[in-house]
């Protein structure tokens, strides 16, 4: 028997809102409230609030913090030298395979915060602490830290109203302090939906107060993990466990943009350089699948031969069609290449498209 599921500080709020709770990465999380499609559309058209307290937060402090992280993570930390800046990055093993995808925030002098996937919490912590020099302070803040995402075209206006006069929202991929309804927070202009919005970090004890303050705006809809998945896949954002894992390198995953060619000396760099030189054998592509819903693990065929399987797959509420990602041989990765997907007893057509599947959002505007 596995351990009991963990609950976030917002568990009671979800029950009161009539959420359907499901197990996810060891946590009992809301998959939906009113309905996935309704919540998805609310985020695209107005604003949605998500409990993402299950995610892990680590803080790294000390004179060696920059050098340590520069050697641990793929993206170039020089790009966020300025305080309050953040970047999407990867942590690789020695073979160049992906341990986790992360956001690293330059939160203070000599100080960084990492937000990591819940499912990788223990593995990340073990890897980070095993590689850290002794003179760094590294703290797992996850248990006492809450994370609430407010996403959608109305999100910035709402958080600005909550922060009060004189507060200005951070720019895209930046983080700053605020006090929202008396709650001291960090507001990061990041997210996983393709909409403009923020992810708000606060003390766990204040989470419910903040959640209620946000939901006091009638234009905000509570949104669950179901909508989070359809929103992120419409943008082609990869999900750890589906689109990448400890067998996948960043080049095959299409994440070369967070692994700058000029950077050397980080863990996995030599392996990545080899893949770049030889070229990856397979590549993650986007597929549209009219009239059916592809699900992870289903076989992907080209001219009757199985060439891969669905990595992520769902119904796109915006396009009202099936969308998916899959690893396919590089020779078949060009947009327009036809495939078939085996969906139970049927074989349906699919075609390669270059993500995002949905290109017009408040971020693209």
């Amino acid at each position: 028997m596995s351990e009991a599921l963990k609950r976030t500080p917002l568990y009671e709020e979800h029950l009161a809102l009539g959420a359907r709770m499901v197990p996810f990465a060891g946590w009992e999380m809301p998959v939906q409230y009113a309905g996935i499609i309704e919540e998805h559309r609310a985020v695209r058209s107005s604003a949605g609030v998500f409990d993402v307290c299950h995610m892990a937060e680590f803080r790294i402090f000390g004179f060696g913090a920059f050098d340590f992280l520069q050697g641990l993570l793929t993206n170039d930390l020089h790009r966020i030298t300025e305080l309050g800046h953040a970047q999407y990055t990867l942590m690789l093993d020695d073979d160049g395979h992906i341990i986790d995808d992360l956001i690293v925030y330059h939160t203070g002098d000599l100080e960084y915060m990492i937000i990591a996937n819940a499912g990788n919490h223990e593995a990340d912590w073990a890897w980070i602490t095993a590689h850290a020099p002794a003179d760094l302070e590294i703290v797992d803040e996850s248990d006492r830290t809450a994370l609430i995402a407010l996403q959608g075209p109305e999100a910035i206006r709402i958080v600005t109203e909550l922060a009060g006069d004189g507060w200005e929202a951070p720019t895209r991929f930046a983080i700053g302090e605020a006090v929202l309804d008396t709650v001291p927070v960090l507001v990061a202009r990041t997210g996983y939906t393709g909409e403009d919005g923020v992810e708000i970090v606060c003390g766990a004890a204040n989470a419910a107060r903040l959640w209620r303050a946000i939901l006091s705006f009638p234009e905000v809809t509570p949104a669950g993990l179901g909508a989070r998945d359809t929103l992120r896949l419409e943008m082609g954002y990869p999900l750890y466990g589906n689109d990448m894992d400890r067998t996948i390198d960043p080049i095959s995953a299409g994440l070369g943009w967070v692994v700058p060619k000029a950077k050397t000396g980080y863990i996995g760099a030599d392996a990545v350089a080899s893949v770049r030189e030889a070229g990856p054998a397979t590549k993650l592509v986007g597929l549209t699948v009219p009239g059916a819903i592809p699900r992870p693990g289903m076989s992907v065929l080209h001219e009757g031969v199985v060439v891969g399987k669905v990595a992520s797959g769902t119904f796109s509420p915006t396009l009202e069609t099936g969308i998916a990602t899959a690893y396919v041989p590089v020779a078949l990765a060009a947009p327009g290449t036809p495939f078939e997907i085996e969906i139970r007893k049927k074989t349906v057509s699919a075609v390669v498209v270059k993500p995002p599947f949905v290109s017009s959002t408040s971020l693209s505007a």
């Binding site: 939906q32 309905g35 996935i36 309704e38 179901g226 119904f315 009202e320 139970r344």
Partner: protein
């Protein structure tokens, strides 16, 4: 949640309204609520022959897919083709416009093996 008592129900959550030898079949309000917003309904063709317990199609929401099972035996005489364009009708009106197929029953006696509304409500409460 009480289900209407003008029909009978299967333990697979289909309902049947019988009119002479014609059985109209859909899924219960409970079933559509469990599924969530329905996005595809895959139904058989007119003329198909079904035995009680046969899978006659699939119903799919964003998160899950369920098979549909014939509660009685017979020949498919009509399918609700409106559901291919408006699958959400299964959510908004599961016992009415969200019906799925009509069968010409081989043996109306099979209906007696199905549950009354009261027994079905008790069945879903037990889980």
């Amino acid at each position: 949640m009480a289900h209407p008592n003008d029909r009978v129900y299967s333990k697979e959550h289909e309902w049947v309204v019988a009119d002479g030898d014609i059985a109209t079949i859909g899924i219960s309000s409970f079933a559509q609520d469990q599924l969530g917003e329905v996005v595809y309904v895959d139904l058989p063709s007119e003329g198909d022959s079904l035995s009680a317990g046969d899978s006659f199609g699939e119903i799919e929401s964003v998160k899950s897919v369920s098979e549909l099972f014939a509660p009685v035996s017979g020949e498919v005489v009509e399918v609700n083709s409106a559901l291919s364009d408006s699958p959400e009708t299964v959510n908004s009106d599961p016992h009415g416009d969200g019906w799925m197929i009509k069968l010409r029953m081989e043996d109306a006696g099979e209906l007696s093996a199905l549950l009354s509304a009261e027994d079905y409500d008790a069945f879903i409460t037990e889980g």
